[in-house]
Structures are given as C-alpha cells and as structure tokens.
Amino acid sequence: MSVELETAISPEKLRRVAIDPVSRVEGHGKVTILLDDDNKVHQVRLHIVEFRGFEKFIQGRPYWEVPVMVQRLCGICPVSHHLAASKALDMMLGVKQLTPTAEKIRRLMHAGQILQSHALHFFHLASPDLLFGFGSDMAQRNIVGVVAAHPEPAKKGVLLRKYGQEVIRMTAGKRVHGTGAIPGGVNKSLAPEERAELLKEIYQIVAWSRDAVGMIRQLFEQNLPEYNAFGRFRSAGMCLVAADGAMDLYHGGLRARDADGKDLFDHFNYGRYWEVIAEEVKPWSYMKFPFFKSLGAEDGSYRVGPLTRVTQCDSIPTPLADREREEFIAFDGGSVTGATLGYHWARMIEMLHAAETIKDLLHDDDIIGHDLMATGQRQERGVGVIEAPRGTLIHHYRVDENDLVIRANLIVSTTHNNQAMNTAVREVAKQYLDGVAITEGLLNHIEIAIRAFDPCLSCATHALGQMPLEVAIVGADGTVLDAATRDQRGLIRDFS
C-alpha cells in the first residue's frame, strides 16, 4: 500500500480541514486534510482513538471473569470479544477440543453476531450513501431517509438485526453481558423451545439475506465505474481459513496473501501470531500499524474483513453463499474483488453465510445437548483468534499461578485495517477533493471510504451531547477561516 500523501513536505504553509469525529462509524475518528491555496491535497491522515486502557482494564482480574468483562470494551461487538477471550482461555486451560455442543453453540452465537452486525452496517450505515448518492442531500442521507424512500429494505434491516440479537440472547443467556461462553466450553445449550422459536423465522431470514446480496449486486451493476474506482488500491490481506481452505469465521489457521495474490503464509498456527505480524508506531496516531514481518513495515501492511475473507477463501461451506462468492469473483472479470466498495458486497455474502449457518445449526441436535465442558492441562498463556464482523480479532493473555491475568494484548480488526483505511481515504482525496472547493458532500466521500471497512473505534460511551461533528478550515497562520459544526440536531453552519 502506498504512503503517498501521508506526510506533506511543508505542512506549515498549508490549510487544514478536519472531520472530527467521523460519523456513522463506531466510536471516535478524525480525518485531517492539508490543502494549499489552490485546494490541492498534500496530506491526508485518519486518526483513531486507540483502545487505550484495555490492558489495564483486564490485568489483575481472575481469568474466568475475562470473557464477560471484555464485552464492556466495546458496545458494538461485545460477542466477538466474548468469544475471542473464551478461545484464548480454552488454550490456557489446555482444552484442545470443545465438546460438540459447546463448539456448535459458540458457532451459533458467532453467526448471530455476524448477521446482526452486517445487517446494521449495510442497511443503516452504508445504504444511505449507496441509495441516495455519495454527495446527496445530507438531510435525506441517513436511515430515516432510507426508511421513508425504501421502507421494505429498511424494515428488513431492522428485523434481520433483531433476529441476530435473539440468537445471541438465547445462546449467551442474556440480551447484553451474556455469559454463554466460558473457558473450556459453554454454560448453557439451547432449550428445545428456544430452538423451535428461532426455526420459525430462519427461512425468511435466509431469503432476506439473499435479497440483500441481490440488492448490492444491482447497485454495482448500476454504478460500476464509480464503485470500482472509488478509493481503490492494491493490498495484501489476512484471514482465518479452515483446514480445507474454506471460509471459517470461528476457527482455523491464518492465511496471508500479498497484493498479487501469492501466499505469504497459510494455515499458520495463530497461537504464534507474533512470528508473522509486528506493529509499527507512528507519531501522529494513537493506533498502531500492523504489518507482515516478511515484507517489512513499509510494504507489509494488509487489510482484513469481509472483502479479504471472501476473496481469499477457497470456498464457503454453505451453498447459497458459495454460489454468490463465485459470482462475485467472476463479476466483470473479477474487478470488484479489488474495490474498496467491494467490502459491501462481500459483507452481504457473509451475512447470507451466517443465516445459512444458523439454519444448519438449528437442525443439529448437538445444540440441545448437555455435554458442555472439556478439560485439559493448565498453561500459563492463551491466544484466541476469531474472524469478527470487521476482521481478524486477536486476544492474548498470560495468567499467573493465582489465576490472575498478568498480561493482555489485543489486536482488533480496525487496527489491522489502519493503514488500509488511511490509503483508501488518500485515494478518495486525490480522486474527489484535489483542486476543488470543499463541500459537505465531498467530505462525505472521505467518510464513505472509511465506512466501507465498518471500523469499530472502541467507544461505547455515548452520553447525550458527546458526538458533535466539527470541521474547521485553518489558514497557514493558524487562523480559523471557516468552521462548521454538526450535532444531533443537524448541520448548524455550512461552508458557503
């Protein structure tokens, strides 16, 4: 990935535009753009508030509390942290194989999480841009606008998300802060009446998920040149795959390929992830920049998440999603597989896979079994990796002889994608902002590039009044030339 536009040569002579925070992404992010007097772009950076405090939050706690506590790190994907922590602590307990019931209940929970997260992202965060246009009227470009203009898909989005949440509630035991997965297994299986309840709607859920793939495909067919070129860049990628190379979002070995599609490593044991991945620190960002050690910091960045998973797996183990994967890869000679907006299409294929997985598991009697726990020989360290909705999620713990966590290291999906998101916004800045007057619609193009990755910026704090959007244009002498503030009531002041 290119680092062009990462650092301007004479930043003091440029004016600065900041998008702070980025909207319709999870948490707080900020984009700064340095422009000269002719509005030519010289520097673009995406700054993300890092997951600071994670280690401190976890250290010193008994290991068995961790799968529940880590759900509070992030209000957006608590189930992903719950499962990654549980897997790490399985390893720490020396459990090499869960019971069939435990593994299938966890997989069911994970599929519920993928379904609800992808549904929310596509229907409620991404679809306003896709349905109304990237620079369309901001008053319409939100989910309420979608509901008003396209009530059916919007309603399906709500119901898909609700169904995924129900799967989580029944497998985790509670609507929030579930305790379903515990080190070594699970503490409950599905009751027969819960299974019957979920079965009632699953065929409709699969059908709607299939419709969603059709919807994004149609949008690509209608806007192919723009979608394909938007924020496009070449990139390496990494994801988990099953032993046979198929997509597996819950467990597997690590597969990494360079930008030409050549294997860097395959079926690599994630318990030794630090042998292939390192993290670089840059002075202008709190968030680290991971890279493949074999390629070095400058050339070794990569992307994770739906686009990488769908393009790097050899197959998807559910028939409808696999057929969609084949069509996605074949579409327009494979051009969409390298498009930043291809993330949306891949995400919907994964949502269909999650729906099919739920259907298959609901027909498997192991999910109502009673053999919930496995045992092993206690270790001092454990690593758990899953493919969370946004990409590869790594949890790594060391536990002392008193069963207290003494070290925790987390590499979350959004950190893996840090360089990729920066590259995408630079490409968009070059394509759309260079040499023209900045407008809210144009700045939204930057946000669209970020949203394609569905970043989770780790801030579950959402107290009223804490989410303004501020944009300031600052002159070379530091004077604020113009400013706009958007709060929960809408845009107060525009650029004009």
Binding site: L73, L120, H462, Q488, L491
Partner: protein
C-alpha cells in the same frame, strides 16, 4: 403478553457515569416490585440505543428512556420526546427521537407516548466507577421516575 409500560436504559456499566442508564433500570426494577399498583412494567437495558429497539415499543402504553447525559442539569431532566428526523444516525448515538421515527415509519403509525429521563453524569472513562455526583443524581432520578409512574 406485552407489559404496557417499558423502562429502557442504556449505557456501558464499565465506563464511569455511562453506567447510569443500566444502573437506574436495576434500581427501578426493585422499586417497581414494591409497587404492585403500578401494574406490569418491563425493564430492559442495552449498551446503546439502536434501530431494533423500535420493535421493543410495540404494544406499549408508555415508554421511559433513561440515559446518562453530560448536558442535562443535575440531577436529571424529564422531557417528552416525539418522533423526529434528526441527524443522530451514528450507530453510536441514536437518539430516542430517531428511534421513534423509525418506529413510525416501519409500523406505519405513531409510537406510544415516550419520555426521556436524562441523568447528569460527568466521567465516562473505561474502568471507572460511578462518580459521587452521579450516585446522588441516580437517587434523585428514581424519585422523578416514581412520580412519573404515579401520575399516569
């Protein structure tokens, strides 16, 4: 059978005063158990308010939303909320007004009468406990909610 009254609080219990929403619900559930005259009340919590919560309002007579707020005057404020097309559609900070609007659109009808109890909070860092000021606000807000229940 859907309970006619819904109390819905949200927030992260491990982020300081952001815990006010779920803590309020926990305390209110205990209070409601001592007031059978209030009838059936359902108490729900979540990390944050989201689109699917529009479905939780189906079949209710009244709804009380509860959240921590930096802007609300201490100890709390109680305001009626109505459906509105605002700009809070970050997944991070969807407003009660926006959720009501989603309800109105997907149900093709008006949402039940809803109020927002905003409890004043000050500190929201990961791993922090509830501040002393928030603790006092929480107690006061329970009385406000009890009055709200009584004046139906």
């Amino acid at each position: 059978m859907t309970a006619p009254i819904l109390i819905f609080g949200w927030g992260n219990p491990s982020r300081g005063d952001d815990a006010l929403g779920p803590l309020f619900v926990e305390h209110f559930a205990a209070l409601a158990a001592r007031h059978p005259e209030w009838g059936e009340v359902e108490c729900l919590t979540d990390f944050q308010l989201q689109v699917e919560h529009a479905l939780d309002m189906q079949g209710r007579r009244r709804v009380l939303f509860v959240d921590a707020s930096l802007d609300a005057p201490a100890p709390c404020s109680l305001t009626r909320v109505t459906a509105a097309r605002d700009d809070s559609f970050t997944t991070h900070a969807m407003s009660p007004q926006a959720v009501l609007k989603v309800y109105a659109d997907i149900e093709d009808g008006e949402a039940p009468p809803c109020w927002l109890l905003a409890i004043h909070g000050e500190r929201f860092e990961l791993g922090e406990g509830l501040s002393e000021a928030a603790r006092l606000s929480l107690q006061a807000s329970l009385q406000v909610a009890a009055d709200w229940m009584d004046c139906e």
